[in-house]
């Protein structure tokens, strides 16, 4: 078995092992969950290390015929587009599992679903066969449904069913698009690379319809305006670790799908769609930021800021330039790190105070220096402070889009201002000002939380100062991708 | 003796068993009638094997599997009977009617 399969199925082995452990042995379950995701992380780290930065071709390819009758194969591979996200997925899952050690309700099922979710996410990012891609795509849905529905907050059932139905609807339409591609390719194939090779055979009208079908599925995941309303609810109701993955990875599946499937396979339609896409991106940026500003709930604020950040991704993609695509891919990674850790930090405060109301706090900065420091760093990264990861990616998105859409970019710069405004207001209300004596007894962060969050903060800094850490891997693939999209 | 004899015998046995399954009120009786059905089938297997395919053993092999499965079925069935009996204090199937529409 080769590396990618190991990465994808290591968590599955862990999940099955967990099923065999009695309910009561919480420690063993947590240990197995952490160990299997750590194994996955180590393999992904090795993948990251062994990845050949000089080529745009697929690497670590595995291809086994699966359902020969329909020309479906078990076809895995990574290029610069996916390798960083695979590593990010493994990392974020590991830290959220570590963070989730504080779950006490039905521990066994929780970690089982959690690891299954990881399998689905990793599978989406490494599969090169559309059918396999779809299978993994759907595989993420069920664990997420249970994770939100069982371990969530007060409105968990509503949130879970909404998430499930909404995204299922999107992916069904996406399935139609996939099938349309299959039946219009000659010979019939689900292979993404082969489809991209045949892209010139598809007429524009057909491309547009398929693009829209795929776009619906992806846009709901991204989430692009106006398909974003499931997100705040699902984020707020989900337990902390799940929110991290929801924001950090699941949203990326939409962007990834667009970059992996829609753009290379349907380049004409993509070009046709860009004037709409840029408008949606700008709406995402400004609308997301403005709505986030109205929030009183920390978690909701971070959730809406995700919509804003995904807008930057879309902005970078809308230009169809190397710089913009690089920015979009890097933005996926940095948003995963930054928003992931923001959700963890919100979880930290919620676990202690049992409230997320911004107005309920005050002056925490003096008593909780570590927490305040980490939160400030991540907030600053989120609002695009140079030296931290968010800046590089956002700047690249802006830079890439500016040539094609200068006025839209100028308008979306307002999003930066609003983001700064609501995040700073949050910091002011939570950490600054006189200390609210109500929270005098709360402890600062403990080791478990630090172990979960500090690596993310360190990576935020590393990518901010040395973006080549990611960009060197991404760039060749993106250059090639832009080449075939603009062919 | 010809194959027909054995087939006739098995047919009669099957019909008797079927009648038992349809009419016995006692659940253990039903189980026993099911055994009759299985045995009728077994007779057919062995007879066909003996008369039509004398050199082969597939029919007999099937009988072995049927016997084994029958054993399993009886074991589980009787365990269920005991469990139901403990709860309902009755061995009559009319009393087991919680599925009534």
């Amino acid at each position: 078995m080769s590396l990618l399969s190991l990465i994808v199925f290591a968590p599955l082995a862990g999940a099955l092992l967990i099923l065999a452990i009695p309910n009561t042995r919480t420690k063993a379950i947590q240990g197995v969950a952490a160990a299997s995701s750590a194994v996955c992380m180590i393999f992904s780290g090795y993948l990251y290390y062994a990845f050949d930065k000089s080529t745009a071709a697929m690497q670590f390819i595995e291809k086994v015929s699966w359902i020969p009758a329909f020309n479906i194969s078990y076809h895995l591979g990574v290029d610069g587009l996916s390798v960083t996200i695979v590593a990010l997925t493994a990392l974020l899952t590991l830290v959220s599992i570590i963070y989730s050690f504080n779950i006490t309700l039905r521990v066994k099922e929780f970690f089982f679903w959690f690891l299954l979710l990881e399998v689905g996410m990793l599978g989406v990012f490494v599969s090169l066969d559309l059918f396999l891609f779809y299978v993994f795509w759907e595989l993420t849905l069920v664990p997420m449904y249970f994770l939100i529905g069982v371990w969530g907050g007060p409105q968990k059932e509503y949130a879970a069913i909404k998430f499930f139905v909404y995204t299922l609807f999107g992916s069904l339409v996406m399935l139609l698009g996939i099938l349309a591609l299959y039946f219009n390719s000659a010979p019939h194939t689900f292979d993404m690379l082969e489809l991209a090779r045949q892209s010139s055979l598809f007429p524009l009208n057909f491309q547009i319809w398929v693009f829209l079908a795929l776009y619906l599925g992806f846009a709901i995941k991204i989430p692009a305006f106006p398909f974003h309303t499931w997100l705040p609810l699902a984020h707020v109701e989900a337990p902390t670790g799940v929110s991290v993955l929801l924001a950090g990875i699941l949203l990326k599946m939409g962007i990834y799908g667009l970059l992996r499937v829609s753009f290379p396979v349907l380049p004409l339609a993509a070009k046709w769609f860009m004037p709409f896409f840029i408008v949606i991106a700008v709406i995402n940026i400004i609308y997301g930021a403005l709505v986030a500003m109205a929030q009183k709930d920390l978690k909701k604020m971070v959730a809406y800021s995700s919509i804003n950040h995904m807008g930057y991704c879309m902005l970078g993609m809308a230009a169809m330039t190397t710089i913009g695509f690089n920015g979009a891919v890097l933005q996926m990674v940095t948003h995963g790190l930054i928003t992931g850790s923001l959700f963890l930090l919100v979880g930290v405060i919620y676990d202690r105070a049992h409230t997320r109301d911004i107005d309920a706090f005050g002056g925490l900065g003096a008593r909780f220096p570590i927490f305040a420091g980490l939160m400030t760093i991540q907030v600053m990264a989120s609002l695009g402070l140079p030296g931290l990861a968010g800046f590089v990616s956002e700047f690249l998105c802006f830079l890439g889009a500016f040539e094609a859409w200068p006025y839209y970019v100028a308008a979306s710069a307002i999003g930066i201002l609003v983001t700064a405004a609501f995040f700073l207001r949050m910091i002011e209300k939570v950490f600054l000002g006189p200390f609210n004596e109500k929270w005098a007894g709360l402890p600062d962060m403990n080791l478990r939380e630090l172990v979960a969050i500090v690596p993310l903060a360190v990576l935020t800094l590393v990518i901010g100062l040395w973006p080549r850490f990611c960009l060197d891997l991404i760039d060749p693939t993106i250059t090639y991708l832009v080449g075939i999209v603009n062919r | 003796m010809t194959l027909s004899h054995y087939l006739a015998l098995s047919g009669v046995l099957f019909t008797i068993g079927l009648f038992g399954v349809l009419t016995r009120r006692n659940i253990i009786g039903i189980l026993m009638s099911i055994e009759l059905l299985l045995n009728a089938a077994n007779i057919n297997f062995v007879a066909f094997n003996r008369f039509l395919y004398p050199g082969q053993h597939l029919g007999q092999l099937s009988v072995i599997f049927v016997i084994t499965l029958a054993a399993a079925e009886v074991v589980v069935g009787l365990a269920l009977v005991m469990a139901i009996y403990k709860n309902l204090k009755s061995a009559y199937v009319e009393d087991y009617n919680i599925l009534k529409g």
Partner: protein
């Protein structure tokens, strides 16, 4: 020597981390490390400066390493040193060093002493990075970083809600300008295809950039400077920024960071020089700023805020100088202003340290208690007002001459502002140090500051006195910092002597008037204030700029809550949940249809239905054997069919 310039910001950056992590074990809780690095930086800058004016350096010097590349675009980390850089370096390192020394005394006993020094070092690192960066991308990064340091340091005593608010206000207001900077940077990149300053300047020189595009980019970039250098109308944050510790005000909000906007305009002067519109925008913004800020200072009672308004006003002068084509004049004023304004802030800090209030109405007569502070403050004030032969005289004179050469109206505005400057400085000086003590308790408590604080004051006072004269002698500064390109407009010829004479006279007269009024006739200002209450109120309210921007904030808040309601109640509730509701309703309609139409039809079939219903009910006996019987019947029917077939 030039090869080691890159170490300056890196060292400061490293020492910030060291102080934060190990400050507890360092001598002076980290202050020693910060000061040592700052001293080293100053030494290096001073050596560079000496060599540069002796002409021993090959300028401009440039070196870079690749940072990252996307596609064919390369981003670099590098150093670009020319005369402008060196002048700025000296200012930054000198003020930073003196402020750090001064802070030992000022911040003694503060619980977050360590963090204070870490922030200061981080700020110095960013400011140095901004100064020496060879490309606009890193320039922009450092530009933002100094903003964050400013945010952190203004809100350093964040338990005070006003400090927390001021930090936020400063950050967001400058961020508003930075949006323009960002878009300007993007369009500059779009025009030139590079971030390298040397290449941009080169392309501007050879006229590769179309003037219209250059003008647009320049004005957009200037918006960033408007925010950072607190120009009209974004000047509202700087007075509030005085909530931070006084040394911070001296370093960041007087000498260095706020001057970064000016430095940026000077850095890209070749681009600005392509477009007269851009230069006029700069000049007029500067002039208006100089006038409005000076007028606001007239009525202010907070000592530090008077100085803050004065800073804004002087920054306006610098912009005015640059915009009017006086490249050297603007930068010269930046340099001298850095010394005497840092001096004034530090002296004011010394006063505040002694009396624990910012309000000048509670001070008075302090010259006897704090002689060193008084003398140094006096020297700083004279330099600021522009009394010959103090530093401000030379630089302000140069700026005014440049303004006159460009446009007499610019000059008139600048001259009026200069008179106001003299007046409010006299007022501040008198109210603080002369006259009778107003609050005896505070007066009795007051004492001269320790040598660690007065030392930097004396050094800065010396610089304030001589720097103008020393740097203008033999045109030292002009040889170091000058613009070799072509200006887009003709300049009138002006006589420097006349301008100097006039400016000096106005300054002396105005200052004398202010001193006389506030010392001998304190009733008159109060009476005037009463008589012109609307005007005073308007000045107190900063021409309503605050209210204007707060209205914007309120508008944003309103918009955001409306959008949220829209999101929750329309998009989510109607568009999404509405679908679900509609689907459910449809199924209900269908059920009604079933009940009332289909069932009715079924009923109409009468007995057949009844029998069928009974039969169907019979089937559901719940008795296993019934089911079995049905199966048997079915089997036999099928068997019969099979046989029949």
């Amino acid at each position: 020597m030039l090869e080691y310039v890159f170490i300056l910001p890196l060292l400061s950056f490293a020492v910030a981390g060291v102080i934060l992590a190990f400050g507890k074990w360092l001598p002076g809780r980290g202050a020693s490390a910060g000061i040592a690095v700052a001293a080293w930086g100053f030494a290096q800058a001073a050596i560079l400066f000496t060599k540069a004016i002796q002409g021993k350096l090959a300028l401009p010097y440039e070196v870079s390493i690749p940072w990252f590349s996307v596609g064919s675009t390369q981003a670099t980390l590098g150093v670009y040193v020319d005369g402008l850089t060196i002048a700025m370096l000296v200012v930054v390192t000198a003020v930073s060093l003196l402020v750090q020394i001064y802070s030992i005394g000022y911040m003694r006993g503060d619980p977050r002493f360590k963090r204070y020094y870490a922030y200061l070092s981080l700020f110095t690192a960013s400011m140095l990075g901004l100064t020496i960066s060879d490309n606009m991308l890193v320039f922009f990064m450092c530009w933002e970083l100094v903003g964050v340091c400013s945010y952190l340091l203004i809100g350093f005593w964040f338990e005070k809600p006003s400090a927390a608010y001021a930090g936020k206000k400063a950050f967001i207001t400058t961020k508003l300008g930075d949006l323009g900077f960002l878009v300007g940077l993007l369009s500059l990149f779009y025009c030139t295809g590079t971030f390298r300053i040397s290449e941009i300047l080169e392309l501007a020189h050879i006229g590769f950039i179309p003037p219209a595009a250059a003008g647009a980019a320049a004005i957009l970039l200037f918006l960033g400077a408007v925010g950072k250098s607190a120009q009209f109308p974004l000047l509202i944050w700087l007075p509030d920024a005085m909530e931070g510790p006084s040394p911070v005000s001296a370093l960041i909000h007087a000498a260095t960071m706020v001057a970064a906007g000016v430095y940026m305009v000077a850095r890209l002067y070749a681009v600005y020089a392509l477009s007269p519109v851009a230069l006029d925008t700069v000049a007029w913004t500067g002039a208006i700023t100089a006038l409005t800020a000076a007028s606001m200072a007239l009525v202010c009672f907070d000592l530090k805020r008077v100085l803050a308004f004065s800073t804004v006003s002087q920054l306006g002068y610098m912009m005015l100088g640059l915009g009017a084509g006086g490249f050297t004049a603007g930068m010269f004023h930046l340099t001298t202003h850095a010394y005497f304004k840092a001096l004034l802030f530090l002296a004011a800090g010394s006063v505040i340290h002694a009396v624990h209030t910012n309000d000048m109405r509670e001070m008075g007569g302090l010259k006897n208690k704090m002689p060193v502070t008084y003398i140094t403050f006096l020297l700083g004030a004279l330099a600021l007002v522009g009394i010959p032969p103090f530093a401000g005289f030379f630089s302000k004179d140069a700026v005014l001459a440049a303004a006159l050469a460009r446009n007499p109206y610019l000059y008139a505005v600048g001259a009026v502002a200069a008179a106001m400057t003299a007046f409010y400085m006299a007022r501040a000086l008198v109210m603080t140090f002369h006259g009778e003590p107003k609050d005896m308790k505070k007066y009795d408590h007051a004492h001269e500051s320790p040598p660690v604080m007065t030392g930097p004051l004396i050094l800065l006072a010396a610089a304030s006195v001589v720097s103008g004269w020393a740097l203008s002698r033999h045109e030292i500064f002009e040889r170091l910092v000058n613009f070799e390109g072509v200006l887009p407009f003709e300049l009138h010829h002006v006589s420097h002597g006349a301008v100097a004479l006039y400016a000096g006279t106005v300054a002396v007269l105005s200052m004398g008037l202010g001193a006389w009024l506030y010392k001998s006739k304190p009733g008159i200002p109060a009476m005037l204030r009463g008589k012109f209450a609307p005007v005073a109120g308007l000045l107190d309210r900063r021409y309503g700029l605050d209210a204007f921007f707060l209205k914007f904030v309120a508008l944003g808040d309103r918009l955001s809550s409306v959008l949220f309601i829209f999101d929750l109640n329309f998009l989510d509730a109607i568009a999404i949940d509405g679908w679900a509701w509609l689907t459910e309703k449809l199924s209900r309609i269908q059920r009604w249809f079933d009940d009332n139409v289909v069932d009715a039809a079924v009923d109409a079939t009468g007995t057949v239905t009844l029998c069928a219903g009974r039969l169907a009910r019979l089937a559901q006996t719940g008795i296993v054997q019934n089911y079995l019987l049905f199966i048997a019947v079915a089997v036999s029917v099928f068997a019969a069919l099979a046989f029949a077939g």
